[in-house]
C-alpha cells in the first residue's frame, strides 16, 4: 500500500509540472501587454514600465519566469496580481465559496443520482427505469447555462421560493438552487452509470450465491451488489469533484456567486496572468489528489484489489 502510494505520488510530479507549464505558456505567451494596459490611455513612463516589468519578472525569458514562479509556489507565494493584490488573498476569498457550492452539488449527486440509478438498475424495464432514462437524457442534453436560466426564472422569479442571485454564500439555503444546477449534468451521469453497473452485476455469480444462501434482500443489495457496482461511479465522482471546483464558471456567473469560476473568468478576460496561473495550479493539484484518493478508495470498496 505504502509502496503504491509512493509510486503514484512520484507519477504525479511530472504531471503537475507539465500541466502547470502548459497553462503558464498558454497564459504568458498571449498577445497583449498587461503592463502597458495598467497605464490606460496615459503615455507610459519608460522607467516606470521597466521597473514594473522587473517587479513582475516579465523582463526575463519565459522559462526563467516559470522556474521563478514554481520556486515561489513551493514557498507558498503565488505572486501578486497586476492590480497589486496578492493572489493567495484572492484565492482565500474565492475558494471557500466554491468549495461550499461544490459540496452542495456533490451532495445532490450522491443522494439523488445514486438512488435514482439504483432504482432504475434494480427494476430494469419498469416505468421508473424508463422515467430515469428519459429524465437524465433530457438533463444531459440541455446545456447548463440554459438550465440555469430556466431554474432561475421558475423558482426565483415566478415562484419566489429562493433569491435569484446568491447574496450570502455562507447561507446554505441560497446555495441549493445553484448547487442543483451545477450538479445536474453529473447527477444524470451518476444515475446512468449506477444503473449500468448494477445491471451488469445483477447477473454475477456472487449475486446468485447470495440469493441462494437466503440472505435478506437489503444485505444482498447493500453489501454485495452496491459495493461491487460503486467502483465506476466512485471513479466518476472523484474526477468530477475537480471539475466542480473549476467548471462552475457558468453557474457562478448566472447566480452571481463570487467563487473561483467567476474570479477566473474575469482574470482571463483581463489578462491577469498571475491570478489565472495561480488558480489553475491549485485546480490541477485538486484534480491530482482527487484521482489518487479515488484509486485508494477502490481497495476499500473491493477487498479483492490490493496494492502491493
Amino acid at each position: 500500500m505504502g509502496h503504491y502510494v509512493l509510486r503514484r505520488v512520484l507519477q504525479m510530479i511530472p504531471v503537475f509540472f507539465g500541466a502547470t507549464l502548459l497553462i503558464f505558456l498558454m497564459v504568458y505567451s498571449l498577445p497583449g501587454d498587461p503592463i502597458a494596459a495598467m497605464f490606460g490611455d496615459k503615455a507610459a513612463d519608460p522607467a516606470q514600465v521597466a521597473s514594473l516589468r522587473h517587479k513582475y519578472y516579465l523582463d526575463q525569458p519565459l522559462w526563467k519566469q516559470y522556474l521563478h514562479y514554481m520556486n515561489n509556489i513551493f514557498h507558498l507565494d503565488f505572486g501578486t496580481s497586476f492590480t497589486g493584490r496578492p493572489v493567495s488573498e484572492i484565492m482565500a476569498d474565492a475558494f471557500p465559496v466554491t468549495i461550499r457550492l461544490a459540496l452542495v452539488a456533490f451532495f445532490f449527486e450522491i443522494f439523488i443520482g445514486l438512488p435514482l440509478g439504483l432504482i432504475a438498475g434494480l427494476y430494469r424495464g419498469s416505468i421508473a427505469d424508463t422515467l430515469v432514462l428519459v429524465l437524465t437524457l433530457i438533463v444531459i442534453s440541455i446545456p447548463v447555462f440554459v438550465l440555469g436560466y430556466i431554474a432561475q426564472t421558475i423558482f426565483a422569479i415566478n415562484l419566489g421560493w429562493v433569491t435569484a442571485t446568491v447574496q450570502d454564500s455562507k447561507d446554505i439555503t441560497q446555495l441549493i438552487l445553484p448547487g442543483l444546477v451545477l450538479a445536474s449534468l453529473s447527477l444524470a451521469y451518476v444515475a446512468r452509470l449506477t444503473r449500468t453497473s448494477i445491471g451488469e452485476n445483477l447477473r454475477a455469480d456472487y449475486m446468485r450465491t447470495a440469493v441462494a444462501k437466503g440472505l435478506p434482500r437489503h444485505t444482498i443489495i447493500g453489501r454485495h451488489l452496491l459495493r461491487n457496482s460503486l467502483i465506476p461511479v466512485v471513479t466518476f465522482l472523484g474526477t468530477d469533484l475537480g471539475a466542480l471546483m473549476g467548471g462552475a464558471i457558468v453557474t457562478e456567473g448566472i447566480f452571481n456567486i463570487a467563487g473561483v469560476g467567476n474570479v477566473l473568468y474575469k482574470a482571463i478576460n483581463q489578462k491577469e496572468g498571475p491570478t489565472v496561473v495561480g488558480i489553475v495550479t491549485v485546480l490541477v493539484l485538486v484534480y491530482l489528489v482527487a484521482s489518487l484518493v479515488v484509486d485508494l478508495l477502490y481497495a476499500v470498496l473491493d477487498p479483492r484489489i490490493r496494492y502491493a
Binding site: 505567451s29 446545456p143 457558468v250 485546480l283 484534480y287
Partner: protein, 316 residues
C-alpha cells in the same frame, strides 16, 4: 437470457448454409461483419431512427439554410422589436418565432445557427479522433517508454479543465471564427480518445491473429492499420459519437460566455446570451435557440447511445 438466444440464432442459421453452399451462394449469404451486424441492429431501433432523422435535418440546415427560410438572419428591422410577440401560425415565415432585440428573425437565426454547431461538432470530433486515436495507437502498440511518455503527456493535458483551457486559448485570438474554436477544443480534447484507444489496442494486441500476422512477416504499419485498427476502433467510435454532442454544447457555452464565436457568425450560444437579458419580457427569444441547441445535443447523444448498444457485444 432468452432474448440473447433469439438474437444469436438467426446469425447461426445464416452461417451454416454459407459454408455448405457453392461459392456464389456463399457470397450472397456471407456472415455479417461486426459493422454490418451493428447496422442491421441499428435500423430496427426507434432511438436510432429518430436521432438519425434529426441529424439529417440539422445537416440540411447547415448545408442549405435558404431552403428553409427566405429571411436574411442578419437583417435587423427595429420595427420588429422583440416585444412584438411571435406569430405561431405563420409557419416558416420570419415572424414565426418572433424577433430578437435587434429585430432579426429568431426562426431564421435558428436555422442558420445550425451551421456553426454542426461544423464545430464534426470537425472537433474528427480532429480529436484522428489525433487522439493515433497517439493512443502508438502508445498501446509500442508500450514501454513510448507509452510512458504519451500517457504522462495525456495526463498533463487532461489535468487542464476543458472550459478553462479553451477560454485561455481563445483569448489569444483577436478575431475568433469557427476554426479558432475547433482548434482550441481539439488541442484540449484529444486526451479522452487517446486513453480509450490505448486501452483498446492493448487488449487487441494480444490476440492470436496479431501474433499470426507477425509470424507471417507483416510490417508494423500493416499490423497496426489492417489488423489492430479495425478491431480496436469500436469503443473509440462510441466515445466519439457521444462526445460530438458535448462539443456542440461546449461551443455554445463558449459563445454564451462571449469568448467563443463572434458576430457576424450566427451561433445559438450568442443568441442565448443576448436573450438572457430580456428573459422576463421575451422568454421566447431564449426558448427557441436554447431548444434547438438542446435537441441537437440530444440527437447526438441518442445516436451515441444507439451506436454503443449496437457495437458492444457484451450487451447482446
Amino acid at each position: 437470457m432468452p432474448d440473447m438466444i433469439e438474437k444469436t440464432a438467426p446469425a447461426g442459421e445464416n452461417a451454416i448454409p454459407a459454408q455448405r453452399g457453392t461459392a456464389a451462394e456463399a457470397k450472397a449469404e456471407k456472415p455479417r461483419s461486426l459493422g454490418l451486424d451493428a447496422w442491421h441492429d441499428l435500423r430496427k431501433r426507434p432511438v436510432f431512427v429518430i436521432s438519425a432523422v434529426l441529424i439529417v435535418l440539422l445537416v440540411l440546415f447547415a448545408i442549405a439554410p435558404s431552403l428553409f427560410t427566405s429571411v436574411d438572419p442578419r437583417a435587423g428591422d427595429l420595427r420588429n422589436h422583440y416585444l412584438t410577440k411571435p406569430n405561431y401560425l405563420h409557419f416558416f415565415q420570419g415572424d414565426w418565432f418572433g424577433y430578437d432585440g435587434q429585430g432579426r428573425s429568431i426562426y431564421a437565426r435558428m436555422i442558420y445557427g445550425a451551421r456553426a454547431s454542426v461544423v464545430v461538432g464534426i470537425c472537433v470530433t474528427a480532429g480529436v479522433t484522428v489525433l487522439g486515436g493515433l497517439l493512443g495507437m502508438i502508445a498501446g502498440y509500442y508500450g514501454g517508454w513510448v507509452d510512458t511518455i504519451v500517457s504522462r503527456f495525456t495526463d498533463m493535458v487532461f489535468g487542464i479543465p476543458l472550459l478553462l483551457g479553451a477560454l485561455v486559448i481563445l483569448n489569444a485570438f483577436q478575431v475568433r471564427t469557427v476554426w479558432s474554436v475547433v482548434f482550441a477544443l481539439v488541442v484540449l480534447g484529444w486526451t479522452q480518445m487517446t486513453r480509450v484507444m490505448r486501452g483498446s489496442v492493448i487488449t487487441v494486441k494480444q490476440s492470436d491473429y496479431v501474433t499470426a500476422a507477425k509470424a507471417l512477416g507483416a510490417g508494423t504499419g500493416r499490423i497496426m492499420f489492417k489488423h489492430i485498427l479495425p478491431n480496436a476502433i469500436a469503443p473509440v467510435i462510441v466515445v466519439a459519437t457521444i462526445a460530438l454532442g458535448g462539443y456542440i454544447a461546449t461551443e455554445a457555452t463558449l459563445s454564451f460566455l462571449g469568448i467563443g464565436l463572434q458576430d457576424p457568425t450566427i451561433s445559438w450560444g450568442i443568441d442565448i446570451n443576448s436573450a438572457q437579458k430580456v428573459i422576463r419580457q421575451a422568454p421566447f427569444a431564449l426558448f427557441f435557440p436554447a431548444g434547438m441547441l438542446s435537441v441537437t445535443v440530444l440527437a447526438f447523444i441518442m445516436l451515441g447511445d444507439a451506436v454503443r448498444d449496437a457495437l458492444d457485444p457484451k450487451l447482446r
